[in-house]
Amino acid sequence: MNHSNDISEIELEAAEYVLGHGSEADRDSTTQQMIANPELRQWVHWWEQRLYPLALHPKPASPRKSVWEALTKQVSVDNKNPNGNRGVNKLWRLWGIGASMVATASVLLLTFTLLGNVNQEREMPTHYASLESNGMMSHIVECYQDGRFEITAVHPATATDGKVLELWMVAANTAPASLGILPSQGRMQKASLPMMQNTSGKLMLAVSVEPAGGSPTGQPTGPVINSTQLIERTSSNSVSF
């Protein structure tokens, strides 16, 4: 197949930047341009996404233990001093600016729970889901064998005008069951989730906007702003460490 030989200067500059061509000064110049030039940012992002599979080909190599040990110390220091050395380079900051990608709410399978200390044994959830808002993960929902479930705020969305966001579980042919108001920070744990044990079909989570204190009727009364499937963890998507 013959393909076009046309490529604009901006597309070429972006590709060469991603490939790593050019001197340090050239790269600094492109980095500076990206701050003010969204088209250049978009093309850099385009090439990053298209070429990254090449990074999967080199033979993996296990780092020495000393690397993790050093990282552990740095992370520990960083946690004690969250405004300390962040080691952010210019390009990284551009991720914050972001190539303009429109994120949609999506189902994200969450593979295991990891709250706690490094290397600590922990119970594995049986079901997972993540909720998104404006392209960011807002909450993680994890359900356990005994019916307990936990909701963890990551980048929590908030409702306006004194309203709250309420989480619902929805199963086929069953009225939605409230899982409570989404926490605006931290982690919320609930004791039971009876629908999990009585339903074999697909389980969905939904978020509705409700008056302060939650739905007055026990059923969603406001607009549903998000929904996602609660996914069962299988052995193929679990990992050990």
């Binding site: 076009s4 597309e11 999967l56 993996p60 190599a61 780092p63 392209g135």
Partner: protein, 188 residues
């Protein structure tokens, strides 16, 4: 970690990054265990020795930890985001320190794209199919640049090809690659 190529599990990595954003150190450990061998494998190809590669790996992971809250799915696959950060750090190091690269002959520079490991995902298949449509030397220059971080000048020296010719090959190759990838995606 086995010597087999790494196949990222996007959903797993999204969950780990999400947990890193709320400063879950166990998630960070799991992310490290899962991805560090693949990232180090690339960095070893780019940097002159293992020590430099491990230093770069450490810096990259610290950056993942500090900035995990800036990742969202709209930025594309998590591993792409991680690799981009690690590669750019490696490229910064290479450019700053001006490592002398010595290769025994021009042949060793060229990567035969037919020898690349079997592809797994759609993105990889698409990229590999499009690279296969390029002139072999041009495809090799693109792969070599990405995987080992060479400048055009270095590629020129190592292939004993005039810089202008290398630039011309790369320009045509990137144009064709862009066109092929865009066409392939449009036909999905």
């Amino acid at each position: 970690m086995s010597s087999q190529r790494y196949t990222p599990d996007q959903e797993q990595l999204v969950s780990l990054i999400g947990r890193c954003s709320i400063k879950d150190q166990a998630a960070f450990k799991a992310l490290y265990d899962e991805t560090s061998p693949a990232i180090l494998g690339l960095l070893i190809r780019m940097l002159p020795n293992r020590e430099a590669a491990e230093d770069c790996l450490q810096e990259a992971f610290l950056q993942f930890w500090n900035n995990a809250n800036q990742y969202h799915v709209g930025k594309g696959p998590v591993f792409s985001w991680m690799i981009t950060i690690a590669r750019y750090r490696a490229i910064d190091r290479i450019r700053k320190q001006r490592y002398d690269v010595e290769l025994s002959d021009a042949e060793s520079v060229l990567v035969d794209t037919a020898d690349l490991a079997p592809v797994a995902g759609t993105e990889e298949k698409r990229l590999q199919a499009c690279l296969a449509e390029l002139e072999p030397n041009t495809a090799s220059l693109i792969v070599k640049s990405y995987v080992e971080g060479y400048t055009q000048q270095e590629l020129s020296q190592q292939t004993d090809t005039p810089l202008g010719t290398v630039k011309s090959w790369l320009r045509r190759g990137l144009a064709a690659l862009k066109s092929c990838m865009a066409t392939s995606e449009a036909n999905l």
